[in-house]
């Protein structure tokens, strides 16, 4: 399953770091952050709870960029 979310982030490097953080999150197979379109595409592991995983993703991203926002 994949999901696409609008994100808010200020700098391109932070977007890269968010991508790295999301990819390391449990339940995520692959995450791509598109800074120009302000979109994050996340492919979940089978049977993963989307909301729970995204909460973890947001938490991991907040560590890197306290101002960032992911709509899910």
């Amino acid at each position: 399953m994949t999901g696409k979310y609008n994100i808010e982030v200020d700098c391109a490097n932070c977007a890269n770091l968010m991508e790295g953080a999301a990819n390391k999150t449990e339940g995520v197979v692959n995450a791509v952050v598109n800074f120009m379109a302000l979109k994050m595409t996340v492919e979940f592991e089978e049977g993963a709870d989307e909301k729970k995983v995204m909460k973890k993703v947001l938490k991991a991203c907040r560590k890197i960029e306290p101002d960032c926002e992911i709509e899910f």
Partner: protein, 626 residues
């Protein structure tokens, strides 16, 4: 500018003015220190807070950290050396923030520009309910609903015009600026703008399946597929910042210790720390990290404005390396619709010949029959025809006005024992006989598209080899190739053989990539097999959109060379930016380590290069004249 940007701008102005004013004030050194510190905090507080938070969370090596350490360090140095020169520390921060502001403004601006180009999403659909026009969300409209589109409105859902006529602006979809005319019975694509007439349209698809949704999905997904250059940059940035920090530390601590302990000379701490701080300012990776994705984004945006949808930056990158373009013939270089090219009646009565043939073929749906009926152009009185018999692969026989008419190929004439004159022309020939007497023949062929010759020429000028693959006979293929001066062609290929042939071409093109351009009907396997699959006018075919990497909104082959030119321009800009950014940075880093570069040069290397790179990146959007 948004609120965040405005706030930052105000802070930059205040602290810059303050900084200049302080140059003309001479007070007690402690008061001066306090004033400079206040100014510094105005401009730098958020950076310091964020950097501090980063350190607490164990994430130290980012640009905020670099800037915070550099400016705090410069400040401390000024205190330590009692020079009272705090200007550098504050100025570094002012310029850094100015760079941030510019970056976010430029990115926001191009984001807006590009989304404005793709502003084809319809907000509502008009439906007549109880004699009143009601606006509904396009998502809620079932196929088969009659919707009303007034002048100036977008067609929200694909459908067929049932009433009214108008001209449609398809520029947002196809890049074609000449409006197209539609009348009752015509199919219309969603996303077109109705210019002058009221249209009633019966929808044929759901909104999610309509052209406009498909395009939006394509465009939104496009920049998520990253190119090699983008991946290189993000990987590079991940290693680069820690490496620079380590180097700076070596400069600040290692070198003085080395001087002190090994060389037994003065360590000159403040000099080396200053050099290390300069180093940190120069090293910010932002110019690089922002300009490469921005270039690709602008390139993709510029291409979609021209009606060329590229599915990702990686495809833009591959497209720029294209050395061979393989074309399908029918529907790609030719119109794909058969038309009567020549009529030869033995007795000179062409009208009569066409009429007879059209009547005999009237009940057939074969494209050849259709083209003869179209050529006849009048209503067919079916009562004049009876006893139609279709002979597969040969033609038809029928009773027309009581006479036996047969129309078909040479084999049919031989079978029926009709003596006929063989046509010298290329293409498909239909011979017509009445009561076993030869009446004449009709030559039917596919016409070459108007822009095909220009397209092939443009590709050749870009140094690209052209190949045509077709399932048709050599007799049909050769004249097309000669007319267009295509380098190579292979005829009589079955669909599977087309894939094999394309793979063979890919293997034999050692350097560079091979693109395949087709109309997407039954060539989806070849579209996937090629390095780059280009589907033309493929909006109707889901399989083609799925299999292709580049989708041309209309079926103009000239767009292929345009797409390649756009990709080459975009990649050129990407490489320029990488070279400028890395070149200037490395030069300044060396100068900084050698103690030649001061803080001001460092600020230029960071902010100045970023601004240049961003401005250069935005050029990729400008593709009209390519």
């Amino acid at each position: 500018m948004n609120r965040k940007q405005k706030k930052l701008l105000v802070r930059i102005i205040i602290s810059a003015v303050f900084l200049i004013a302080l140059r003309f004030v001479h007070l007690n050194p402690y008061i001066m220190f306090a004033l400079y510190l206040a100014d510094y905090l105005i401009i730098a507080y958020d950076v310091l807070i964020k950097a501090g938070r980063g350190i607490i969370r164990g994430r130290v090596f980012d640009e905020l950290f670099l800037m915070a350490v550099a400016s705090v360090g410069a400040f401390s140095l000024a205190v330590y050396s009692k020079s009272g020169d705090y200007v550098e520390a504050v100025a570094v921060m002012v310029f850094y923030q100015l760079g941030q502001l510019f970056e976010s403004y430029a990115v926001g601006k191009s984001r807006k520009n590009i989304s404005a180009l793709m502003d084809i999403r319809p907000d509502y659909a008009n439906v007549e309910i109880d004699g009143k026009i009601t606006q509904l969300s396009p998502d809620d409209i079932e196929p088969g609903t009659v919707i009303i589109v007034r002048p100036g409105e977008k067609i929200p859902i694909d459908g067929v015009v049932i009433e009214g006529s108008s001209s449609l602006d398809t520029a947002a979809l196809t890049g074609e600026s000449v409006p197209s005319q539609v009348y009752g019975g015509d199919e219309v694509m969603s996303g077109c703008i109705n210019i002058d007439g009221l249209l009633r349209i019966r929808t044929t698809k759901e909104f999610g399946e309509s052209t406009v949704s498909k395009i939006l999905e394509l465009v939104e997904n496009s920049s998520s597929r990253k190119s090699k250059s983008e991946n290189f940059i993000s990987r590079f940035a991940r290693f680069y910042t820690p490496a620079v920090c380590a180097l700076a530390l070596t400069l600040a601590v290692g070198v003085p210790l080395f001087r002190m302990l090994i060389l037994k000379s003065a360590p000159s701490w403040s000099d080396w720390i200053y050099r290390a701080l300069t180093f940190l300012v120069i090293s910010c990776p932002c110019a690089l990290v922002i300009s490469v994705p921005l270039s690709f984004f602008a390139g993709l945006g510029g291409a979609s404005r021209e009606g060329i949808l590229i599915k990702g930056s990686n495809y833009l990158e591959t497209l720029s390396k294209t050395k061979t373009v393989v074309f399908d013939k029918t529907g790609t270089l030719t119109e794909g619709s058969f038309s009567v090219n020549k009529v030869y009646a033995r007795d000179g009565d062409d009208e009569k010949l066409i009429e007879t043939a059209a009547l005999a073929e009237s009940s057939s749906s074969h494209p050849i029959s259709r083209s003869i009926i179209e050529k006849y152009g009048r209503d067919i009185d079916l009562s004049r025809v009876s006893g139609v018999r279709e002979i597969r692969g040969k033609g038809v026989t029928a009773e027309v006005d009581g006479k036996t008419v047969c129309a078909g190929n040479g084999a049919l004439m031989d079978e029926l024992g009709v003596k006929y004159t063989e046509a010298p022309e290329n293409g498909t020939v239909v011979y017509v006989a009445v009561n076993s007497g030869f009446l004449g023949y009709i030559v039917i062929s596919d016409t070459i598209k108007k822009t095909s010759a220009k397209a092939i020429k443009a590709l050749k000028e870009s140094g690209i080899k052209t190949v045509m693959l077709t399932g048709d006979s050599e007799a049909a293929a050769k004249p097309v190739c000669e007319a267009l001066s295509i380098d190579e062609h292979v005829s009589r290929l079955l669909p599977a053989e087309k894939v094999a042939k394309t793979e063979e071409i890919i293997r034999s093109t050692a350097k560079g990539k091979t693109a395949f351009a087709g109309d997407g009907i039954n060539d989806a396997p070849v579209l996937s097999a090629a390095d780059i699959g280009i589907a033309m006018g493929a909006l109707g075919s889901d399989a083609a959109i799925e299999a292709a990497d580049v989708v041309l909104m209309d079926d103009d082959p000239l767009k292929i060379s345009k797409a390649i030119k756009i990709s080459r321009k975009c990649l050129r800009i990407v490489y320029q930016n990488i070279i400028i950014a890395l070149g200037v940075k490395f030069a300044c880093l060396i100068l900084g380590a050698a103690g030649i570069a001061n803080m001001w040069l460092a600020v230029f290397a960071d902010v100045g290069v970023m601004i240049i790179a961003v401005l250069n990146a935005v050029r990729a959007l400008n593709v009209k004249k390519l």
